[in-house]
């Protein structure tokens, strides 16, 4: 019998994600993949998977999944209130589930995106080298769409034993400070706007999704207009003429012509991935050296369990 997860309730927006398809950006296809790479990788490592195996990315409201077959799973990322058969269950550690168990989520307490990894990995449609769901093109994962009730999720064969009992510490999600390096067009900001970018906070708008977050705050004026279109990366902070910045996330446009005033460093991207509409956040300037140190520290935190 194939071991599967049956979707009883899908949650608000639950998609299959891996580490994406960064090699196809030259055709304009977003790199995609898990928004919070740290939580995604941690969940996989806790159940003995390669960090690139596909997981379920659950947004704000988690799904209810019926378990068919014995399973080892791990839930990481946002605290959406994990329950097994109605009882609280731990996050950031592997848990063993039995036939007919039910995994559910009681409600969001902190963060925006939880990740469910299953020993053996979740299997979805592979498109351009990745199982990541890309809803805009209706490709990858569960037929290019979020889960719906009645979906059957197939899992792979476990490759190596999970690390039962071990846990990984989450990043400091509660501190909504995103560290940034000044962007290529920072000097196009009017002097007052340069100050405001770092001294004022922003609020994540309701018009925020896997492509990017619109940030509401002070109006940031630029002294010059458009830039010739150029290739973009996740984490860049674009400034359209309206004066409110957009932070580009995993399903970001691959190129654009708005000035880029800052880029969020890799180590702060998991924090960004856990921001929900309505959350307040701020940018803090850092150096490339500090960004490289933070990147190494995060990698060490991931590797510390195995």
């Amino acid at each position: 019998m194939t071991e599967v997860l049956r979707v009883v309730r899908p949650g608000l927006f639950t998609t299959i994600q891996d580490l994406g398809r960064p090699h196809v950006i030259a055709s304009g296809v977003p790199p995609g993949g898990a928004m919070d790479r740290f939580a995604h990788s941690a969940a996989n490592m806790l159940v003995g998977n390669d960090r690139g195996a596909a997981t379920l990315e659950c947004t704000l409201t988690g799904p209810t999944l019926g378990i068919e077959g014995p399973f080892v799973i791990a839930v990481t990322g946002a605290d959406l209130g994990v329950r097994v058969n109605g009882d609280p269950a731990p996050s950031w550690t592997a848990i063993e589930l039995r036939q007919a168990d039910e995994l559910s989520f009681a409600g969001r307490r902190a963060g925006a995106r939880a990740y469910i990894a299953v020993a053996g990995g979740i299997l979805g449609d592979r498109w351009l080298g990745s199982m990541s769901t890309y809803v805009t093109a209706a490709r990858g994962g569960m037929h290019g769409r979020p889960l719906v009730a009645g979906d059957v999720i197939v899992c792979g064969e476990p490759q190596s034993p999970p690390v039962i009992g071990d846990s990984i510490a989450p990043p400091p999600y509660a501190d909504h400070t995103l560290k940034v390096i000044e962007g290529p067009h920072f000097d196009r900001l009017a002097p007052a706007a340069r100050e405001a970018l770092f001294s004022s906070g922003f609020r994540v708008s309701s018009r925020s999704d896997r492509m990017g977050y619109r940030l509401e705050g002070p109006n940031l004026e630029t002294t010059a207009g458009e830039v010739l279109s150029f290739g973009l990366v996740a984490g860049v902070v674009q400034l359209p003429p309206g004066g409110w910045p957009i932070l580009l996330m995993a399903d970001h446009q691959t190129a654009g012509g708005y000035p880029v005033v800052a880029t969020v460093i890799s180590a702060s991207m998991p924090i960004a991935a856990q921001l929900a509409p309505g959350d307040d956040m701020r940018f803090e300037r850092t150096s490339i050296e500090a960004a490289l140190e933070a990147r190494a520290a995060q990698r060490a935190a991931l590797a510390s369990t195995i």
Partner: protein
């Protein structure tokens, strides 16, 4: 010795700790775009480079900071940019039918201070170059537009633009391959599919291709 090209005007900026933007110029120019495409191709061959994508007049390079520093990567970019690019073959020619009835057609003509008829004539006249494929799957930045059609982007992007919309902004024109957000002026639509999800590469247009629009009735 082949003549060396001036690299002094290249401006290189960090995009976070693992990427760089190398701006070759601030002008939209076919020769510069050809250099950018050649530079991206040369960078992609390096083991310490993860991705390199040519912009209209730039290259965005994602690299592995465990293997190379920002400074060394920037020096490599300057060295590679100084090499003479290969002679470019003319790109494939695509002829794209357009119904000129976009929601911004009249407002755009008014803003440009020309008639709608003149706008259509000017837009359908040139053979454009695909300077860059990107933004969303299958989108190509086509240009340069005739000077009379140059207009800044909309101040507030639309959250939804219909697939097939033909649009202009700045010195560029393009066709939205999917229904997505967008900040350009919508002047028409086409039924040609630009995003080919089951092909590899999944885009009808490739950087360096040539595109000619022609007006058709409803």
């Amino acid at each position: 010795m082949p003549p060396r090209r001036s690299t002094s005007r290249i401006r290189i900026h960090p995009l976070g700790e693992a990427a760089l933007l190398a701006e070759l110029s601030s002008r939209l120019d076919t020769a510069i775009n050809t250099r950018a495409i050649a530079l991206a191709a040369a960078l992609k061959k390096r083991r310490d480079v993860r991705q390199a994508i040519a912009g209209a007049a730039s290259v965005t390079v994602q690299f592995d900071p465990d293997q190379i520093t920002h400074e060394a990567m920037a020096a490599s970019i300057r060295r590679l940019a100084g090499k003479r690019p290969p002679i470019e073959e003319p790109g494939r020619l695509h002829r794209i039918p357009v119904v000129y009835d976009g929601p911004d057609l009249e407002a755009t003509a008014t803003a440009l201070n020309i008639s709608v008829q003149r706008l259509i004539e000017l837009h359908a006249r040139p053979i454009y170059r695909a300077f860059l494929v990107g933004f969303v799957p299958g989108w190509a930045y086509l240009g340069p537009l005739p000077d009379e059609l140059v207009l800044p982007r909309r101040s507030e992007p639309r959250t939804q633009v219909a697939a097939g919309s033909v649009a202009i902004a700045g010195q560029m024109t393009g066709v939205y391959p999917l229904t997505t957000p967008g900040g350009w002026h919508l002047i028409g639509r086409t039924s040609v599919k630009l995003f080919l999800p089951d092909s590899d590469p999944p885009s009808l247009f490739r950087a360096g291709d040539r595109v000619k629009f022609f007006p058709v009735g409803q």
